[in-house]
């Protein structure tokens, strides 16, 4: 049901035990209608989903059923039999569990309830965890990883048997990730220990609440084998509409690129006008650059700080503390600040670059004015002309309350492997029983028995056709047909490797001094310099000594890599050589893409756009055409000695990249001699030596054949088999599935550690066992993630019969942004021996010269 008002009429106040009524009265508050609705239905035995905007009292609503039930139960008399936890609260963030504990303890203490509340995270001391197992609190606040650990324990049943409620916070963000998959499996196990447990999901607005309502209940019940009815829904709408504007600038809006440096003077003026401004960007690189730009114009020396995931944790904590104490005027941040933590008195959110998704925008804007009845204030700063349209579309979407969160998706196989091992650690399992339990979790509802068996086999001996590891099996079948762990070390290994978040290999960045003669600071390199944070290894691998880049707000000179540290010195320059830093870049969501297409197709809507952008579109209309909503516009034109083909698909960078890879293969076969391509969120450009426009005109090249859906068959398969990109996906699968051990920072041996690279394992597997279950898991991950194949398939269906071709004599206005991207992309890894050849020739020239 939808609830719009925020105060209850008092009709259901009787649901509340006396101390609660008194407490609300003393505060001069009324319980809100959605809080009582949730309370009455959950108490009656329903699983529930609460969707509410920030500041609506969601947390209290989620805990009211537990608190009232515990109040009625009263204190457990000393000497009673062991009582397990009553309520389990799961949040995606450690910090959030600490926050919630504080917020929950307040009413508990004020009402004088005898309810114990504790949190348990990776930071909880061993002694306290031990004590929690022996003497559990009533309410345990924790993370998905800790739940998995508790369940993989022999005492799990005892610990969970009395559980009445599981409260799942930020459910919308949890369910779409592998952590959500793991949590769904854990929930299935919890239901076995506590068959009558009820789930309460707390979520921000989502596109399809029914996905979450189903997620919260078993998909096959023990008795009937049929799905339980979906969780009940309480949907709170309303709250003050946010006040969002697009930044107006006198400067020229750039044609391409992703950094909105042009608008920083205007942003700076806004910072001066507000108490605290939160500046959100999409990538770390943007964060670094904008932070630096702001400081070059910070004439008033306003306290402006930087916050992103690569910074040293200590530095981040300092910034957060300063923020909470309202000591900062502005903070430039990436998605590390996205979720549910209170951020002092933020009165303005500036979003730099297009938000790429309407839901993400709503979430970020929610960071300002954390009170439901006051409007949030936000300004969007588009980085280029296409982004102006995207911002406008996102803005419309936010007003419409539209949502575009990704779907829940199929459960990942590597997560399943991890879970199976965990379940063997808990107690020997019967495979049929465990399979039934697993398919009751909604992401795994379609898991086949065959795939389950392959996963069990993988966990036991690696699942290879060559069965040479039987004697080293991690789990073994007992005479009774149950699978048990072979030895205690296996369980130990499981505990160390648990979790679904795999950090990219990162190196510590350390600042050292460079002496006048070019040598590094005294006492040997790497000693005593300031640690600035961490950078992904792949980024550093492409640097050579002397390259300059932006990090931690400084322009740094790369000096080299020593042990596990990257040494840098101050570059004393304002102009870094800025390499592409693609990490953390979101693709445009399907929903927003559709909005941009529709805006483009409707010249009446252009009136809201800035003059520069409108003029640009008008010239496009004169020179070529502006595509209709469901039309795919293809332009061809010559430039220099090359011929270009531009496809305006608007499906996001990932899908375009996949499309580009497949189209160039096809064009090559047809004899169009493609040389390369580049993809942006909006379009795809392919260039080659043959006049593709003329080929289309003469019928030698058929666009409908070129864009036929059958490219997702053999062409895709052939490409995947030689792609380097899958290796990164494979590495994650290898770690999560337990094939290789997780790295534990700080615990690496010094010197040459006995280890193996996942790239090599991947190559060996592909050569010798291409159907291995882990390769299957990798392909599935890539199809839904990096490749965006589902989306590409949808597009190919949509544009069938709607392709319009314009053969032009020169570059079109709409093509300018992508033409400017050409040349920025790194060259692919082929033609390697040619590079070697050149290097060798230099030596020969040197020798002969």
């Amino acid at each position: 049901m939808d609830i719009v008002e925020t105060q209850s009429s008092g009709r259901d106040a009787a649901l509340l035990p006396r101390p609660f009524q008194t407490w609300f009265a003393e505060k001069g508050w009324q319980p809100r209608a959605h809080q009582l609705e949730l309370l009455s239905r959950a108490t009656a035995g329903e699983n529930m989903l609460l969707i509410a905007p920030t500041g609506a009292g969601k947390t209290l609503a989620g805990f009211l059923p537990s608190l009232t039930d515990l109040t009625r139960r009263g204190k457990i008399p000393p000497g009673s039999a062991f009582t397990g936890i009553h309520t389990l609260y799961v949040s995606p963030l450690k910090a959030l569990t600490v926050d919630i504990e504080r917020n929950l303890m307040k009413p508990v203490t004020e009402m004088g309830l005898s309810v114990t509340v504790e949190n348990r995270t990776g930071d909880t001391p061993q002694a306290k965890r031990q004590r929690q197992r022996l003497n559990p609190p009533d309410i345990l606040l924790t993370t998905p990883e800790q739940v998995a650990l508790l369940l993989a324990n022999k005492e799990a049943e005892r610990f969970f048997k009395d559980l009445k409620y599981v409260v799942l916070d930020e459910l919308h963000s949890l369910v779409t990730s592998k952590r959500g998959h793991l949590l769904s499996l854990d929930l299935a196990r919890i239901r076995r220990h506590a068959p009558h447990v009820r789930t309460i999901g707390l979520s921000a607005t989502v596109a399809d609440p029914m996905d979450l309502q189903r997620w919260l209940v078993p998909q096959s019940q023990r008795e009937t084998g049929r799905p339980a009815p979906p969780a009940g829904l309480v949907h709170v709408t309303g709250g003050a509409a946010p006040d969002i504007a697009i930044m107006k600038t006198d400067d020229r809006i750039p044609w391409s690129g992703h950094v909105s440096t042009y608008a920083m003077p205007e942003v700076y003026e806004e910072i001066k006008r507000h108490k605290t401004t939160l500046i959100f960007v999409n990538t770390r690189f943007q964060a670094e650059l904008l932070f630096q730009t702001l400081w070059t114009i910070n004439e008033d020396n306003l306290p402006i700080a930087l916050h992103h995931g690569s910074l040293d944790a200590g530095q981040r904590r300092k910034v957060e503390a300063a923020m909470a104490a309202n000591r900062l005027r502005a903070i430039v941040a990436t998605s590390t600040l996205d979720m549910g933590i209170d951020w002092g008195d933020v009165d303005l959110v500036v979003h730099v670059g297009a938000p790429k998704g309407a839901s993400r925008l709503a979430q970020r804007i929610g960071r300002s004015n954390h009170r439901m009845d006051e409007p949030s204030k936000a300004i969007l700063v588009p980085a280029n002309r296409f982004e102006v349209m995207e911002c406008q579309a996102a803005l419309d979407a936010n007003y419409l309350g539209a949502q575009d969160t990704p779907p829940v998706g199929e459960g990942a196989l590597d997560v399943l492997a991890q879970h199976v091992l965990g379940m063997a650690c808990a107690e020997p399992f019967d495979p049929v029983e465990l399979y039934d339990e697993i398919v009751s979790a909604s992401p795994y509802a379609n898991l086949s028995w065959e795939m389950f068996e392959r996963i069990v086999d993988f966990v036991a001996t690696g699942g290879y056709a060559l069965r040479s590891y039987e004697r080293y099996a991690k789990i073994r079948k007992t005479k009774e047909g149950r699978w048990r762990v072979s030895n205690p070390q296996v369980a130990q290994q499981y505990r160390l490797n648990l979790g679904t978040i795999v950090e990219a290999t990162e190196l510590n960045v350390r600042l050292v001094r460079r002496n006048a003669n070019g040598s590094l600071g005294r006492g040997g390199p790497g000693r005593g310099g300031l640690s600035l944070g961490k950078v992904e290894e792949y980024f550093l691998e492409q640097l050579v000594q002397g390259d300059t880049f932006l990090f931690a707000g400084k322009v740094l000179r790369f000096e080299g890599i020593r042990e596990n540290e990257c040494l840098v010195s101050n570059a004393f320059s304002l102009d870094p050589k800025i390499p592409a830093y693609a990490g953390g870049k979101f693709p445009l969501t399907t929903y927003l893409a559709a909005q941009v297409r529709s805006m483009l197709a409707d010249p009446d809507r252009w009136s809201v756009l800035p003059d520069q952008v409108r003029d640009w579109l008008n010239i496009q209309r004169d020179r070529s055409i502006v595509p209709k909503q469901d039309e795919l516009l293809i332009e061809t034109f010559p430039r220099g000695k090359r011929f270009f083909l531009i496809a305006y698909c608007f499906e996001g960078r990932l899908a375009h990249q996949t499309l580009g890879m497949l189209l160039t293969r096809r064009l090559d076969r047809i004899g169009a001699h493609p040389l390369g391509f580049v993809a942006t969120d909006y379009s795809l450009a392919i260039w080659g030596l043959s006049d593709m426009g003329a080929m289309i005109g003469s019928g030698r090249l058929s666009l409908s054949d070129l864009f036929d859906e059958d490219m997702l068959g053999d062409d895709l398969e052939a490409w995947l088999n030689e792609s380097y990109m899958l290796k990164r996906t494979f590495r994650n699968c290898a770690v999560i599935s337990g094939l290789i051990e997780r790295r534990h920072p700080g615990k690496e041996k010094t010197g040459r550690q006995v280890t193996v690279s996942t790239d090599l394992i991947y190559d060996v597997l592909r050569t010798h066992e291409p159907d291995h279950v882990l390769l299957e898991a990798t392909r599935r991950d890539a199809a839904s993630g990096l490749l965006d194949i589902g989306r590409l398939g949808d597009m190919l269906k949509r544009i069938r019969g709607h392709i319009t071709h314009r053969d032009l004599d020169r570059v079109s206005p709409l093509a300018i942004p992508i033409m400017l991207e050409i040349g920025k992309e790194p060259v692919p890894g082929e033609a390697q021996d040619a590079v070697l050849q050149e290097a060798a020739e230099e030596l020969i020239a040197e020798a002969l010269g």
């Binding site: 990164r728 193996v756 090599l760 050149e838």
Partner: protein
């Protein structure tokens, strides 16, 4: 994917070589590569002529001796013993390349320069069919297993002799490079252990490959095993081993050796 750097892969250790795909390609193609020694590079180490083969072996024509190093056989099994079920196909892949090199040069003596097996249990638990493969390769020639740090106890039930060092034809063969200079030390030494690899970069593109490294006095062998990985020649573990003025890295290309002077490498 255009735009995805091939260097983004996931080495577990930053210095572990991750880009040795071509060795597996090699294993697949090795049966076709047994003909004439195309693409090999002839060099001189301490007065002895040596042929660096792109498959990773060093052949000394005067004595008919073939050197390979760091085979790391049964690395997959060594990990499986510790609970990490790596693919069990690395040994056969490495042996296939070895067989191709042996067929190409038909050496009188084969010296495997240590870390022949990835752990102490490797040779003892070697499956019978792989054992026979080594037996077939060793037939009609002498075979010497130099002991390495991974397999200091020597091999079990395999043809050939085990030893820590071998002096032969004015050269000394040992697993770990000696820290002493001069004769019986670094002079004329052929060693392994460090898995040298080198990176060259031209016009924004960088390529990293295993390599032979020699300054004319001593030579370091590339690791031969398909799962062996590599260590950059500029890493501090290599410090002091070579005269950088005369040091040349002979990189293993697809079909030939590429020789690049140390000063032209990047780290």
């Amino acid at each position: 994917m255009r735009g995805s750097r091939k260097d983004e892969g996931g080495s577990l250790e930053y210095w572990e070589e991750t880009k040795l795909m071509h060795r597996l390609g090699l294993a697949a193609r090795s049966t076709m590569m047994t003909g004439a020694a195309t693409g090999a590079e002839e060099i001189v180490v301490n007065g002895t002529v040596a042929v660096c083969d792109p498959m990773g072996g060093l052949y000394l024509p005067e004595s008919g001796l073939l050197v390979v190093s760091d085979l790391h056989l049964e690395k997959g099994a060594a990990f499986a013993r510790r609970g990490m079920m790596l693919p069990p196909y690395d040994t056969i892949a490495t042996l296939n390349i070895l067989s191709a090199v042996i067929t190409r040069y038909d050496p009188k003596i084969v010296v495997s320069l240590g870390d022949n097996f990835h752990d102490r249990k490797g040779s003892e638990h070697l499956p019978q069919e792989l054992r026979s493969l080594i037996g077939a390769m060793a037939r009609g020639r002498d075979w010497i297993w130099i002991n390495g740090n991974h397999d200091p106890d020597g091999t079990v039930d395999l043809p050939g002799a085990c030893t820590d060092e071998l002096f032969y034809g004015g050269l000394v063969f040992r697993h770990e490079p000696s820290l002493i200079s001069g004769p019986r030390g670094s002079k004329g030494e052929i060693a392994g252990h460090l898995h040298p690899a080198a990176t060259v970069r031209r016009r924004e593109k960088s390529v990293r490959r295993p390599c032979f490294a020699s300054d004319g006095s001593r030579l370091l062998m590339p690791a031969f095993g398909v799962l062996a990985g590599g260590l950059d020649l500029r890493h501090q573990a290599m410090r002091g081993l070579f005269d950088h003025e005369t040091l040349v890295a002979h990189l293993l290309g697809r079909d030939r050796i590429y020789s690049v002077r140390y000063a032209n490498l990047i780290g």
